[in-house]
Symmetry: C2
Subunit: 301 residues, 2 copies
Protein backbone atom coordinates (compact mmCIF):
# COMPACT_ATOMS: atom_id res chain seq x y z
CA UNK A 1 0.00 0.00 0.00
CA UNK A 2 1.35 3.43 -0.93
CA UNK A 3 2.49 5.49 2.03
CA UNK A 4 1.68 9.08 2.88
CA UNK A 5 4.01 10.72 5.38
CA UNK A 6 2.86 13.91 7.10
CA UNK A 7 5.87 15.80 8.34
CA UNK A 8 4.35 19.18 9.13
CA UNK A 9 3.11 20.25 12.52
CA UNK A 10 -0.55 19.21 12.31
CA UNK A 11 -2.92 18.85 15.24
CA UNK A 12 -4.69 15.58 15.99
CA UNK A 13 -7.83 16.91 14.32
CA UNK A 14 -5.93 17.93 11.21
CA UNK A 15 -4.29 14.49 11.02
CA UNK A 16 -7.74 12.91 11.26
CA UNK A 17 -8.86 14.99 8.30
CA UNK A 18 -5.91 13.66 6.30
CA UNK A 19 -6.62 10.11 7.51
CA UNK A 20 -10.25 10.28 6.34
CA UNK A 21 -9.11 11.44 2.90
CA UNK A 22 -6.23 8.94 2.76
CA UNK A 23 -8.36 5.83 2.59
CA UNK A 24 -6.33 3.15 0.77
CA UNK A 25 -2.97 4.67 1.78
CA UNK A 26 -0.82 3.92 4.79
CA UNK A 27 -0.59 7.11 6.82
CA UNK A 28 2.47 7.89 8.90
CA UNK A 29 4.09 10.87 10.60
CA UNK A 30 7.69 11.98 10.78
CA UNK A 31 9.49 15.04 12.07
CA UNK A 32 11.27 17.01 9.31
CA UNK A 33 14.63 15.59 10.38
CA UNK A 34 13.48 11.97 10.63
CA UNK A 35 14.11 9.47 7.82
CA UNK A 36 11.05 8.99 5.63
CA UNK A 37 10.66 6.72 2.64
CA UNK A 38 7.04 7.37 1.77
CA UNK A 39 5.85 7.84 -1.82
CA UNK A 40 3.85 10.91 -0.83
CA UNK A 41 5.27 13.45 1.60
CA UNK A 42 3.36 16.44 2.96
CA UNK A 43 5.60 19.03 4.56
CA UNK A 44 9.18 20.26 4.34
CA UNK A 45 11.57 17.47 5.41
CA UNK A 46 15.27 18.28 5.56
CA UNK A 47 16.71 18.19 2.01
CA UNK A 48 19.06 15.31 2.85
CA UNK A 49 16.05 13.26 4.04
CA UNK A 50 14.29 13.94 0.75
CA UNK A 51 17.47 13.09 -1.17
CA UNK A 52 17.59 9.67 0.49
CA UNK A 53 13.90 8.89 -0.13
CA UNK A 54 14.14 6.48 -3.08
CA UNK A 55 10.38 5.87 -3.20
CA UNK A 56 9.31 9.52 -3.39
CA UNK A 57 6.71 10.21 -6.08
CA UNK A 58 5.14 13.43 -4.83
CA UNK A 59 6.35 16.01 -2.33
CA UNK A 60 3.73 18.58 -1.29
CA UNK A 61 5.71 21.38 0.31
CA UNK A 62 4.13 23.55 2.98
CA UNK A 63 6.02 26.54 1.60
CA UNK A 64 6.29 28.50 -1.61
CA UNK A 65 10.08 28.52 -1.31
CA UNK A 66 11.87 25.62 -3.00
CA UNK A 67 15.43 26.96 -2.78
CA UNK A 68 16.75 24.51 -0.20
CA UNK A 69 15.65 21.55 -2.38
CA UNK A 70 16.99 22.93 -5.66
CA UNK A 71 20.38 21.22 -5.28
CA UNK A 72 18.82 17.72 -5.24
CA UNK A 73 18.90 15.77 -8.49
CA UNK A 74 15.20 15.87 -9.34
CA UNK A 75 15.47 14.61 -12.92
CA UNK A 76 16.88 11.33 -11.65
CA UNK A 77 14.09 10.69 -9.14
CA UNK A 78 11.17 11.37 -11.42
CA UNK A 79 9.29 12.80 -8.44
CA UNK A 80 6.94 15.75 -8.63
CA UNK A 81 7.11 18.63 -6.17
CA UNK A 82 4.16 20.94 -5.53
CA UNK A 83 4.32 24.12 -3.50
CA UNK A 84 1.88 26.60 -1.94
CA UNK A 85 2.07 29.16 -4.75
CA UNK A 86 -0.15 32.14 -3.94
CA UNK A 87 -1.05 30.74 -0.53
CA UNK A 88 0.78 33.43 1.41
CA UNK A 89 0.00 36.40 -0.81
CA UNK A 90 -2.66 37.97 1.42
CA UNK A 91 -0.91 37.60 4.80
CA UNK A 92 2.52 38.58 3.47
CA UNK A 93 1.15 41.60 1.60
CA UNK A 94 -0.72 42.67 4.75
CA UNK A 95 2.43 42.28 6.85
CA UNK A 96 4.39 44.30 4.27
CA UNK A 97 1.87 47.14 4.36
CA UNK A 98 1.72 46.91 8.17
CA UNK A 99 5.50 47.29 8.33
CA UNK A 100 5.68 50.12 5.80
CA UNK A 101 2.89 52.06 7.50
CA UNK A 102 4.48 51.39 10.90
CA UNK A 103 7.69 53.06 9.68
CA UNK A 104 5.87 55.93 7.93
CA UNK A 105 3.53 56.61 10.87
CA UNK A 106 5.94 55.84 13.73
CA UNK A 107 4.18 52.78 15.20
CA UNK A 108 7.47 51.01 15.95
CA UNK A 109 8.76 54.10 17.77
CA UNK A 110 5.46 54.57 19.63
CA UNK A 111 5.55 50.96 20.82
CA UNK A 112 8.98 51.52 22.34
CA UNK A 113 7.89 54.83 23.91
CA UNK A 114 4.92 53.10 25.52
CA UNK A 115 7.19 50.41 26.95
CA UNK A 116 9.24 53.23 28.53
CA UNK A 117 6.01 55.02 29.58
CA UNK A 118 7.39 58.12 27.91
CA UNK A 119 5.24 60.81 26.27
CA UNK A 120 6.88 62.60 23.38
CA UNK A 121 3.78 64.06 21.73
CA UNK A 122 4.12 66.93 19.25
CA UNK A 123 7.80 66.47 18.25
CA UNK A 124 6.82 63.01 16.95
CA UNK A 125 4.56 64.62 14.35
CA UNK A 126 7.45 66.22 12.54
CA UNK A 127 9.00 62.80 11.83
CA UNK A 128 5.95 61.23 10.22
CA UNK A 129 5.46 60.63 6.52
CA UNK A 130 2.47 59.91 4.33
CA UNK A 131 2.31 56.83 2.17
CA UNK A 132 0.00 58.70 -0.20
CA UNK A 133 1.73 59.34 -3.48
CA UNK A 134 4.88 57.37 -2.65
CA UNK A 135 6.83 55.74 -5.47
CA UNK A 136 7.09 52.01 -4.93
CA UNK A 137 9.35 49.59 -6.83
CA UNK A 138 8.25 45.97 -6.70
CA UNK A 139 11.08 43.49 -7.35
CA UNK A 140 9.42 40.18 -8.16
CA UNK A 141 5.94 40.36 -9.57
CA UNK A 142 4.27 37.22 -8.32
CA UNK A 143 1.24 36.76 -6.09
CA UNK A 144 2.61 38.70 -3.10
CA UNK A 145 3.66 41.88 -4.87
CA UNK A 146 0.55 41.85 -7.08
CA UNK A 147 -1.59 41.72 -3.95
CA UNK A 148 0.47 44.46 -2.31
CA UNK A 149 -0.03 46.57 -5.45
CA UNK A 150 -3.80 46.18 -5.02
CA UNK A 151 -3.59 47.29 -1.39
CA UNK A 152 -1.63 50.38 -2.45
CA UNK A 153 -4.20 51.54 -5.00
CA UNK A 154 -6.14 53.91 -2.70
CA UNK A 155 -2.86 55.51 -1.57
CA UNK A 156 -2.29 56.70 -5.12
CA UNK A 157 1.25 55.32 -5.10
CA UNK A 158 3.08 55.14 -8.40
CA UNK A 159 4.21 51.55 -8.75
CA UNK A 160 7.00 50.16 -10.92
CA UNK A 161 6.87 46.36 -11.08
CA UNK A 162 9.82 44.17 -12.10
CA UNK A 163 9.13 40.62 -13.17
CA UNK A 164 11.39 38.04 -14.69
CA UNK A 165 10.83 39.45 -18.17
CA UNK A 166 12.29 42.84 -17.29
CA UNK A 167 15.92 43.80 -17.81
CA UNK A 168 17.99 44.48 -14.69
CA UNK A 169 19.00 47.83 -16.20
CA UNK A 170 15.39 48.96 -15.98
CA UNK A 171 15.35 48.15 -12.27
CA UNK A 172 18.63 49.94 -11.62
CA UNK A 173 17.32 52.99 -13.44
CA UNK A 174 14.19 53.03 -11.26
CA UNK A 175 15.87 52.58 -7.86
CA UNK A 176 17.08 56.19 -7.35
CA UNK A 177 13.49 57.51 -7.56
CA UNK A 178 11.97 54.89 -5.24
CA UNK A 179 10.56 55.80 -1.84
CA UNK A 180 9.97 52.12 -1.12
CA UNK A 181 11.48 48.96 -2.65
CA UNK A 182 9.74 45.67 -1.99
CA UNK A 183 11.64 42.46 -2.73
CA UNK A 184 9.35 39.44 -3.12
CA UNK A 185 11.25 37.29 -5.60
CA UNK A 186 12.09 33.61 -5.21
CA UNK A 187 15.54 32.33 -4.20
CA UNK A 188 17.25 31.28 -7.42
CA UNK A 189 20.88 31.49 -8.59
CA UNK A 190 19.91 34.67 -10.49
CA UNK A 191 18.49 36.41 -7.41
CA UNK A 192 21.19 35.33 -4.95
CA UNK A 193 22.69 38.41 -3.28
CA UNK A 194 20.78 40.65 -5.71
CA UNK A 195 20.35 43.51 -3.26
CA UNK A 196 23.99 44.27 -2.58
CA UNK A 197 25.87 47.35 -1.40
CA UNK A 198 25.87 48.85 -4.91
CA UNK A 199 22.09 48.58 -5.21
CA UNK A 200 21.49 49.99 -1.72
CA UNK A 201 23.77 52.88 -2.70
CA UNK A 202 21.45 53.61 -5.64
CA UNK A 203 18.50 54.19 -3.31
CA UNK A 204 17.76 57.75 -2.30
CA UNK A 205 18.43 58.81 1.28
CA UNK A 206 15.28 58.14 3.28
CA UNK A 207 14.09 55.18 1.22
CA UNK A 208 12.51 52.11 2.83
CA UNK A 209 13.49 48.57 1.83
CA UNK A 210 11.38 45.45 2.38
CA UNK A 211 12.37 41.82 1.93
CA UNK A 212 9.55 39.30 1.80
CA UNK A 213 11.29 36.81 -0.48
CA UNK A 214 14.22 34.93 0.96
CA UNK A 215 17.18 36.07 3.03
CA UNK A 216 19.62 34.96 0.33
CA UNK A 217 18.50 37.83 -1.94
CA UNK A 218 19.98 40.46 0.33
CA UNK A 219 23.49 41.37 1.42
CA UNK A 220 22.55 41.71 5.08
CA UNK A 221 25.77 43.48 6.10
CA UNK A 222 25.24 46.13 3.42
CA UNK A 223 21.62 46.67 4.48
CA UNK A 224 22.61 46.89 8.14
CA UNK A 225 25.28 49.46 7.30
CA UNK A 226 22.80 51.62 5.33
CA UNK A 227 20.33 51.55 8.22
CA UNK A 228 22.95 52.24 10.88
CA UNK A 229 24.16 55.24 8.86
CA UNK A 230 20.53 56.44 8.59
CA UNK A 231 20.94 56.49 4.82
CA UNK A 232 17.86 54.32 4.56
CA UNK A 233 14.87 55.41 6.64
CA UNK A 234 13.84 51.88 7.48
CA UNK A 235 13.42 48.27 6.49
CA UNK A 236 10.78 45.58 6.82
CA UNK A 237 12.54 42.22 6.94
CA UNK A 238 10.43 39.08 7.02
CA UNK A 239 13.19 36.67 5.99
CA UNK A 240 16.86 36.37 6.89
CA UNK A 241 19.70 34.15 5.70
CA UNK A 242 19.77 32.32 9.02
CA UNK A 243 16.55 31.69 10.89
CA UNK A 244 16.31 32.03 13.83
CA UNK A 245 18.39 35.17 13.44
CA UNK A 246 21.64 34.41 15.32
CA UNK A 247 22.51 36.24 18.53
CA UNK A 248 24.86 39.12 17.72
CA UNK A 249 23.46 39.65 14.20
CA UNK A 250 23.43 43.35 13.35
CA UNK A 251 19.72 43.24 12.46
CA UNK A 252 18.91 42.83 16.18
CA UNK A 253 20.20 46.33 16.89
CA UNK A 254 19.71 48.11 13.54
CA UNK A 255 17.54 51.20 13.91
CA UNK A 256 14.22 51.40 12.06
CA UNK A 257 14.26 47.75 11.10
CA UNK A 258 11.04 45.82 11.57
CA UNK A 259 11.94 42.16 11.86
CA UNK A 260 8.87 40.02 11.37
CA UNK A 261 10.67 36.72 12.08
CA UNK A 262 9.28 34.94 9.01
CA UNK A 263 5.76 35.33 10.42
CA UNK A 264 4.54 37.29 7.39
CA UNK A 265 2.73 34.34 5.86
CA UNK A 266 1.07 33.37 9.11
CA UNK A 267 -2.59 33.34 10.02
CA UNK A 268 -4.49 31.68 12.80
CA UNK A 269 -6.00 29.10 10.43
CA UNK A 270 -2.79 28.57 8.44
CA UNK A 271 -2.36 24.82 8.99
CA UNK A 272 -6.06 24.14 8.29
CA UNK A 273 -5.63 25.92 4.98
CA UNK A 274 -2.43 23.98 4.20
CA UNK A 275 -4.29 20.72 4.84
CA UNK A 276 -7.01 21.97 2.46
CA UNK A 277 -4.39 22.44 -0.29
CA UNK A 278 -2.83 19.01 0.30
CA UNK A 279 -6.17 17.22 0.32
CA UNK A 280 -7.32 18.97 -2.86
CA UNK A 281 -4.10 17.84 -4.54
CA UNK A 282 -4.53 14.33 -3.10
CA UNK A 283 -7.89 14.08 -4.86
CA UNK A 284 -6.10 15.01 -8.11
CA UNK A 285 -3.31 12.51 -7.42
CA UNK A 286 -5.79 9.66 -6.88
CA UNK A 287 -7.70 10.45 -10.04
CA UNK A 288 -4.53 10.84 -12.12
CA UNK A 289 -5.29 14.50 -12.81
CA UNK A 290 -2.36 16.96 -12.99
CA UNK A 291 -1.41 18.28 -9.58
CA UNK A 292 -1.81 22.00 -8.86
CA UNK A 293 1.23 24.24 -8.37
CA UNK A 294 3.96 21.92 -9.64
CA UNK A 295 7.46 23.38 -9.12
CA UNK A 296 9.32 23.92 -12.39
CA UNK A 297 12.80 22.54 -11.61
CA UNK A 298 14.39 24.57 -14.39
CA UNK A 299 13.07 27.85 -12.92
CA UNK A 300 13.44 26.76 -9.32
CA UNK A 301 9.91 27.76 -8.20
Amino acid sequence: MMEICVCCDVTGRQLERVARAADGFTLMRAAPDQPCNAAIVFGNPAPEIVGRNSRLRWLQLESVGFGEYARLDWTRTGAVVTNLAGFFAEPVAETALAGILALYRGVDRLTRLKAEQRWLGDPLRRELRLLRGAHVVLYGYGAINRRLEELLVPFGCSVTPFGKRHAVERLDAALPAADIVVCAAPATPATNGFFDAARFARLQAGAVFCNLGRGSLVDEEALAAALEANRLAGAVIDVTKDEPLPAGHRFWTCPNLILSQHSGGGTRDEMDRKVDVFLANLVRFRSGAPLADIVDFSRGY
Copy 2:
Protein backbone atom coordinates in the same frame (compact mmCIF):
# COMPACT_ATOMS: atom_id res chain seq x y z
CA MET B 1 -3.75 98.99 11.73
CA MET B 2 -5.38 95.62 12.30
CA GLU B 3 -3.22 93.12 14.15
CA ILE B 4 -2.46 89.53 13.26
CA CYS B 5 -1.11 87.42 16.07
CA VAL B 6 0.60 84.13 15.22
CA CYS B 7 0.54 81.85 18.22
CA CYS B 8 1.48 78.55 16.69
CA ASP B 9 4.96 77.12 16.56
CA VAL B 10 6.15 78.47 13.18
CA THR B 11 9.74 78.64 11.99
CA GLY B 12 11.37 81.92 10.98
CA ARG B 13 10.78 81.04 7.34
CA GLN B 14 7.13 80.30 7.92
CA LEU B 15 6.70 83.59 9.80
CA GLU B 16 8.29 85.39 6.84
CA ARG B 17 5.71 83.80 4.54
CA VAL B 18 2.95 85.16 6.78
CA ALA B 19 4.66 88.58 6.92
CA ARG B 20 4.80 88.83 3.13
CA ALA B 21 1.09 88.06 2.90
CA ALA B 22 0.19 90.33 5.84
CA ASP B 23 1.07 93.58 4.15
CA GLY B 24 -1.08 96.30 5.74
CA PHE B 25 -1.47 94.41 9.05
CA THR B 26 0.66 94.60 12.18
CA LEU B 27 2.17 91.17 12.68
CA MET B 28 2.98 89.88 16.15
CA ARG B 29 3.71 86.59 17.88
CA ALA B 30 2.52 85.20 21.20
CA ALA B 31 2.81 81.86 22.95
CA PRO B 32 -0.55 80.11 23.44
CA ASP B 33 -0.61 81.12 27.13
CA GLN B 34 0.35 84.77 26.56
CA PRO B 35 -2.25 87.55 26.49
CA CYS B 36 -3.16 88.55 22.96
CA ASN B 37 -5.61 91.21 21.85
CA ALA B 38 -5.21 90.95 18.07
CA ALA B 39 -8.18 91.03 15.69
CA ILE B 40 -6.85 88.04 13.81
CA VAL B 41 -5.32 85.11 15.66
CA PHE B 42 -3.66 82.11 13.99
CA GLY B 43 -3.20 79.18 16.33
CA ASN B 44 -4.77 77.70 19.44
CA PRO B 45 -4.34 80.13 22.36
CA ALA B 46 -5.56 79.02 25.77
CA PRO B 47 -9.37 79.45 25.91
CA GLU B 48 -9.16 82.02 28.72
CA ILE B 49 -6.80 84.12 26.56
CA VAL B 50 -9.32 84.00 23.72
CA GLY B 51 -12.13 84.85 26.15
CA ARG B 52 -10.31 88.01 27.23
CA ASN B 53 -9.53 89.14 23.67
CA SER B 54 -12.11 91.90 23.19
CA ARG B 55 -10.88 92.81 19.70
CA LEU B 56 -11.01 89.31 18.19
CA ARG B 57 -12.68 89.18 14.79
CA TRP B 58 -11.28 85.94 13.36
CA LEU B 59 -9.60 82.98 15.03
CA GLN B 60 -7.95 80.50 12.64
CA LEU B 61 -7.42 77.37 14.71
CA GLU B 62 -4.59 75.00 13.90
CA SER B 63 -6.81 72.06 14.83
CA VAL B 64 -10.08 70.53 13.76
CA GLY B 65 -11.14 70.16 17.40
CA PHE B 66 -13.07 73.10 18.85
CA GLY B 67 -14.19 71.43 22.08
CA GLU B 68 -12.05 73.47 24.48
CA TYR B 69 -13.42 76.75 23.06
CA ALA B 70 -17.07 75.70 23.03
CA ARG B 71 -17.74 77.09 26.52
CA LEU B 72 -16.83 80.66 25.50
CA ASP B 73 -19.71 83.00 24.70
CA TRP B 74 -19.22 83.32 20.96
CA THR B 75 -22.54 84.99 20.15
CA ARG B 76 -21.55 87.95 22.28
CA THR B 77 -18.16 88.50 20.60
CA GLY B 78 -19.32 88.35 17.00
CA ALA B 79 -16.02 86.70 16.09
CA VAL B 80 -15.67 83.99 13.48
CA VAL B 81 -13.71 80.81 14.14
CA THR B 82 -12.29 78.68 11.34
CA ASN B 83 -10.75 75.26 11.79
CA LEU B 84 -8.68 72.81 9.76
CA ALA B 85 -11.61 70.61 8.68
CA GLY B 86 -10.36 67.74 6.54
CA PHE B 87 -6.73 68.77 7.01
CA PHE B 88 -5.81 65.71 9.06
CA ALA B 89 -7.88 63.12 7.19
CA GLU B 90 -5.01 61.53 5.28
CA PRO B 91 -2.45 61.29 8.10
CA VAL B 92 -4.99 60.21 10.73
CA ALA B 93 -6.51 57.58 8.43
CA GLU B 94 -3.01 56.28 7.62
CA THR B 95 -2.13 56.13 11.32
CA ALA B 96 -5.41 54.30 12.03
CA LEU B 97 -4.68 51.70 9.35
CA ALA B 98 -1.06 51.45 10.53
CA GLY B 99 -2.29 50.73 14.06
CA ILE B 100 -4.96 48.25 13.01
CA LEU B 101 -2.56 46.35 10.75
CA ALA B 102 0.11 46.44 13.47
CA LEU B 103 -2.31 44.67 15.83
CA TYR B 104 -3.54 42.21 13.18
CA ARG B 105 -0.04 41.37 11.90
CA GLY B 106 1.83 41.55 15.22
CA VAL B 107 4.10 44.55 14.49
CA ASP B 108 3.80 45.91 18.03
CA ARG B 109 4.74 42.50 19.46
CA LEU B 110 7.62 42.12 16.96
CA THR B 111 9.01 45.52 17.92
CA ARG B 112 9.16 44.46 21.55
CA LEU B 113 10.72 41.10 20.65
CA LYS B 114 13.42 42.87 18.65
CA ALA B 115 14.19 45.15 21.60
CA GLU B 116 14.70 41.99 23.69
CA GLN B 117 16.66 40.37 20.81
CA ARG B 118 14.34 37.40 21.13
CA TRP B 119 13.34 35.15 18.21
CA LEU B 120 9.90 33.59 18.54
CA GLY B 121 9.35 32.60 14.91
CA ASP B 122 6.66 30.07 14.01
CA PRO B 123 4.47 30.32 17.15
CA LEU B 124 3.90 33.98 16.22
CA ARG B 125 2.16 32.92 13.03
CA ARG B 126 -0.69 31.31 14.90
CA GLU B 127 -1.63 34.62 16.55
CA LEU B 128 -1.90 36.66 13.35
CA ARG B 129 -5.12 37.77 11.72
CA LEU B 130 -6.05 39.02 8.28
CA LEU B 131 -7.75 42.36 7.78
CA ARG B 132 -9.29 41.01 4.59
CA GLY B 133 -13.03 40.65 5.00
CA ALA B 134 -13.18 42.22 8.48
CA HIS B 135 -16.36 44.01 9.55
CA VAL B 136 -15.61 47.62 10.43
CA VAL B 137 -17.98 50.04 12.19
CA LEU B 138 -17.13 53.71 11.66
CA TYR B 139 -18.49 56.01 14.38
CA GLY B 140 -18.40 59.52 12.99
CA TYR B 141 -18.52 59.82 9.24
CA GLY B 142 -16.45 62.89 8.49
CA ALA B 143 -13.28 63.33 6.48
CA ILE B 144 -11.15 60.91 8.56
CA ASN B 145 -13.45 57.91 8.51
CA ARG B 146 -14.40 58.50 4.88
CA ARG B 147 -10.73 58.41 3.97
CA LEU B 148 -10.18 55.30 6.10
CA GLU B 149 -13.09 53.67 4.31
CA GLU B 150 -11.34 54.31 1.00
CA LEU B 151 -8.12 52.75 2.28
CA LEU B 152 -10.09 49.66 3.37
CA VAL B 153 -11.67 49.05 -0.06
CA PRO B 154 -9.04 46.60 -1.37
CA PHE B 155 -9.28 44.59 1.86
CA GLY B 156 -12.90 43.79 1.04
CA CYS B 157 -14.00 44.87 4.51
CA SER B 158 -17.70 45.30 5.12
CA VAL B 159 -18.11 48.80 6.50
CA THR B 160 -20.99 50.21 8.54
CA PRO B 161 -20.76 54.00 8.85
CA PHE B 162 -22.55 56.03 11.52
CA GLY B 163 -22.99 59.71 10.97
CA LYS B 164 -24.96 62.30 12.86
CA ARG B 165 -28.14 61.39 10.96
CA HIS B 166 -28.16 57.80 12.20
CA ALA B 167 -29.99 56.59 15.29
CA VAL B 168 -27.87 55.36 18.20
CA GLU B 169 -29.95 52.16 18.20
CA ARG B 170 -28.56 51.30 14.77
CA LEU B 171 -25.01 51.64 16.11
CA ASP B 172 -25.71 49.52 19.15
CA ALA B 173 -27.24 46.85 16.94
CA ALA B 174 -24.10 46.80 14.76
CA LEU B 175 -21.48 46.67 17.54
CA PRO B 176 -21.75 42.93 18.38
CA ALA B 177 -20.81 41.97 14.81
CA ALA B 178 -17.88 44.39 14.51
CA ASP B 179 -14.30 43.18 14.24
CA ILE B 180 -13.11 46.77 14.40
CA VAL B 181 -14.77 49.96 15.68
CA VAL B 182 -13.24 53.28 14.70
CA CYS B 183 -14.32 56.39 16.61
CA ALA B 184 -13.61 59.61 14.72
CA ALA B 185 -16.39 61.90 15.91
CA PRO B 186 -16.01 65.43 17.31
CA ALA B 187 -16.15 66.25 21.01
CA THR B 188 -19.66 67.58 21.64
CA PRO B 189 -22.05 67.22 24.59
CA ALA B 190 -23.77 64.39 22.65
CA THR B 191 -20.56 62.38 22.16
CA ASN B 192 -19.13 62.90 25.66
CA GLY B 193 -18.37 59.51 27.22
CA PHE B 194 -20.16 57.77 24.35
CA PHE B 195 -17.99 54.65 24.42
CA ASP B 196 -18.71 53.51 27.95
CA ALA B 197 -18.54 50.16 29.72
CA ALA B 198 -21.93 49.12 28.34
CA ARG B 199 -20.85 49.74 24.73
CA PHE B 200 -17.51 47.96 25.19
CA ALA B 201 -19.51 45.03 26.62
CA ARG B 202 -21.50 44.87 23.36
CA LEU B 203 -18.34 44.26 21.34
CA GLN B 204 -17.42 40.69 20.54
CA ALA B 205 -14.42 39.12 22.25
CA GLY B 206 -11.38 39.81 20.09
CA ALA B 207 -12.64 43.10 18.64
CA VAL B 208 -10.30 46.06 18.10
CA PHE B 209 -11.28 49.61 19.13
CA CYS B 210 -9.74 52.81 17.73
CA ASN B 211 -10.19 56.37 18.97
CA LEU B 212 -9.08 59.11 16.60
CA GLY B 213 -11.61 61.72 17.76
CA ARG B 214 -11.13 63.14 21.22
CA GLY B 215 -10.34 61.49 24.53
CA SER B 216 -13.61 62.73 26.03
CA LEU B 217 -15.60 60.28 23.86
CA VAL B 218 -14.25 57.24 25.67
CA ASP B 219 -14.55 55.92 29.22
CA GLU B 220 -10.84 55.19 29.54
CA GLU B 221 -11.19 53.04 32.66
CA ALA B 222 -13.73 50.81 30.92
CA LEU B 223 -11.52 50.44 27.85
CA ALA B 224 -8.46 49.66 29.98
CA ALA B 225 -10.43 47.01 31.87
CA ALA B 226 -11.57 45.34 28.62
CA LEU B 227 -8.00 45.25 27.31
CA GLU B 228 -6.51 44.02 30.57
CA ALA B 229 -9.07 41.21 30.64
CA ASN B 230 -8.17 40.37 27.01
CA ARG B 231 -11.83 40.76 26.11
CA LEU B 232 -10.78 43.20 23.41
CA ALA B 233 -7.87 42.10 21.20
CA GLY B 234 -6.43 45.57 20.96
CA ALA B 235 -6.89 49.32 20.68
CA VAL B 236 -5.40 52.16 18.68
CA ILE B 237 -5.62 55.31 20.77
CA ASP B 238 -4.52 58.59 19.25
CA VAL B 239 -6.23 60.86 21.76
CA THR B 240 -6.67 60.73 25.52
CA LYS B 241 -8.58 62.82 28.05
CA ASP B 242 -5.35 64.21 29.48
CA GLU B 243 -2.41 64.88 27.20
CA PRO B 244 0.39 64.19 27.92
CA LEU B 245 -0.99 60.95 29.33
CA PRO B 246 -0.34 61.18 33.09
CA ALA B 247 2.18 58.89 34.78
CA GLY B 248 0.36 55.94 36.32
CA HIS B 249 -2.48 55.99 33.75
CA ARG B 250 -3.62 52.43 32.97
CA PHE B 251 -3.09 52.98 29.23
CA TRP B 252 0.68 52.98 29.80
CA THR B 253 0.58 49.33 30.81
CA CYS B 254 -2.53 48.06 28.98
CA PRO B 255 -1.68 45.13 26.70
CA ASN B 256 -2.25 45.45 22.95
CA LEU B 257 -2.83 49.19 23.11
CA ILE B 258 -1.08 51.30 20.52
CA LEU B 259 -0.83 54.80 21.91
CA SER B 260 0.00 57.25 19.15
CA GLN B 261 0.34 60.28 21.49
CA HIS B 262 -1.89 62.54 19.36
CA SER B 263 0.63 62.27 16.52
CA GLY B 264 -1.94 60.79 14.12
CA GLY B 265 -2.45 64.07 12.28
CA GLY B 266 1.25 64.76 11.96
CA THR B 267 3.38 64.98 8.86
CA ARG B 268 6.81 66.43 8.24
CA ASP B 269 5.35 69.38 6.32
CA GLU B 270 2.43 69.90 8.69
CA MET B 271 3.17 73.51 9.70
CA ASP B 272 3.85 74.54 6.11
CA ARG B 273 0.45 73.18 5.17
CA LYS B 274 -1.19 74.95 8.11
CA VAL B 275 0.34 78.23 6.98
CA ASP B 276 -1.03 77.51 3.48
CA VAL B 277 -4.55 77.20 4.95
CA PHE B 278 -4.22 80.38 7.01
CA LEU B 279 -2.88 82.41 4.10
CA ALA B 280 -5.60 81.17 1.74
CA ASN B 281 -8.18 82.26 4.32
CA LEU B 282 -6.36 85.58 4.82
CA VAL B 283 -6.81 86.30 1.10
CA ARG B 284 -10.54 85.67 1.57
CA PHE B 285 -10.64 87.86 4.70
CA ARG B 286 -8.99 90.78 2.90
CA SER B 287 -11.35 90.57 -0.04
CA GLY B 288 -14.41 90.19 2.16
CA ALA B 289 -15.16 86.73 0.80
CA PRO B 290 -16.60 84.11 3.17
CA LEU B 291 -13.87 82.24 5.08
CA ALA B 292 -13.40 78.51 4.51
CA ASP B 293 -14.22 75.99 7.25
CA ILE B 294 -16.13 78.22 9.65
CA VAL B 295 -17.01 76.45 12.90
CA ASP B 296 -20.75 76.18 13.47
CA PHE B 297 -21.13 77.17 17.14
CA SER B 298 -24.47 75.39 17.44
CA ARG B 299 -22.94 72.06 16.32
CA GLY B 300 -19.62 72.63 18.02
CA TYR B 301 -17.44 71.78 14.98
